[in-house]
Symmetry: C2
Subunit: 172 residues, 2 copies
């Protein structure tokens, strides 16, 4: 098994992060990996918005919790870095392109000792008025929608050593 | 730059394949990488259907070309291995989960010297009657739908050394 496949197989979702900041050079490597994702017809229409500002993260969490009527929602597992991937609303392949960007970033992060988890909360409320105002303040275009985000940071937990793969494989 | 990030950055879509078969052990490593993809709530509802049977691939190409009224459509770039990822139609996160499975397989393939490209043709015709009959024959459940496929094989072309990244990055 080579290092690339080992990295794929050992990456786990991390939901508990240490307070240690992610260094800029490490974060840039992770973001750049996302930029190298494939896209339909190589359009690369995504925007990667990286939020480290604590005030913004708290306000965003509150707006999301209110929009979804989920007062129990956490501040994105208290991650030090929250990354929002968005795509134009009229782009047909936005969901799958977003996922490739996120998966590249997850794998790059893991290879650098940084943990990550997919956050789905924004998907159901990006167009809520209060949420949208915050996204606009963060520089996300008004015509962009969100299919996925990433919480990023150094893990404050052990990663499970293996996992049960439940997907079905058929050969023909 | 570590090997994982180098692999992410140097992977390119391949649309010209040599006739050389992909060895079973190599193919199994690629498929297994797909099985390790993240999924919403760790549901892993995907099926990975691997088609090497030439007769099936020719019939599938003809049915797809007819369904989409695209007589010019190629036999999936004459790849030796065609992989169809499917998910239950009533599963909300099928598109993004499919993309993570495919991106894992693309990256694992590249690390093993195997080329790959995302094929979108089935997305618009998986429920066409003739196409669905072939999918059923290949073992794909009737309630599964398709957001993406992969053409896999050894490249019969040079990979471009770099590419222009057009995605936007913002920090807040």
């Amino acid at each position: 098994m080579n290092e690339i496949i080992r990295n794929i197989k050992t990456r786990r979702s991390v939901r508990k992060f240490s307070a240690k900041p992610v260094e800029d050079n490490i974060l840039n490597e992770i973001i750049t990996a996302g930029l190298y994702a494939p896209s339909a017809m190589n359009t690369q229409l995504w925007q990667i918005t990286v939020i480290k500002n604590e005030d913004m993260l708290v306000r965003l969490q509150k707006a999301v919790a209110k929009a979804l009527d989920r007062p129990d929602y956490h501040r994105f597992y208290n991650c030090p870095v929250f990354i929002i991937v968005t795509v134009p609303e009229d782009y047909r392949h936005g969901a799958v392109d977003t996922a490739c960007v996120l998966q590249n970033m997850f794998l790059a992060a893991h290879s650098l000792g940084v943990g990550s988890v997919w956050i789905n909360q924004l998907r159901d409320c990006y167009d809520n008025r209060e949420v949208r105002e915050l996204l606009t303040e963060a520089g996300i275009p008004e015509n962009h929608i969100c299919f996925g985000c990433a919480a990023i940071g150094y893990p404050d937990c052990e990663l499970p050593s293996d996992r049960e793969n439940k997907g079905v494989v058929k050969f023909f």
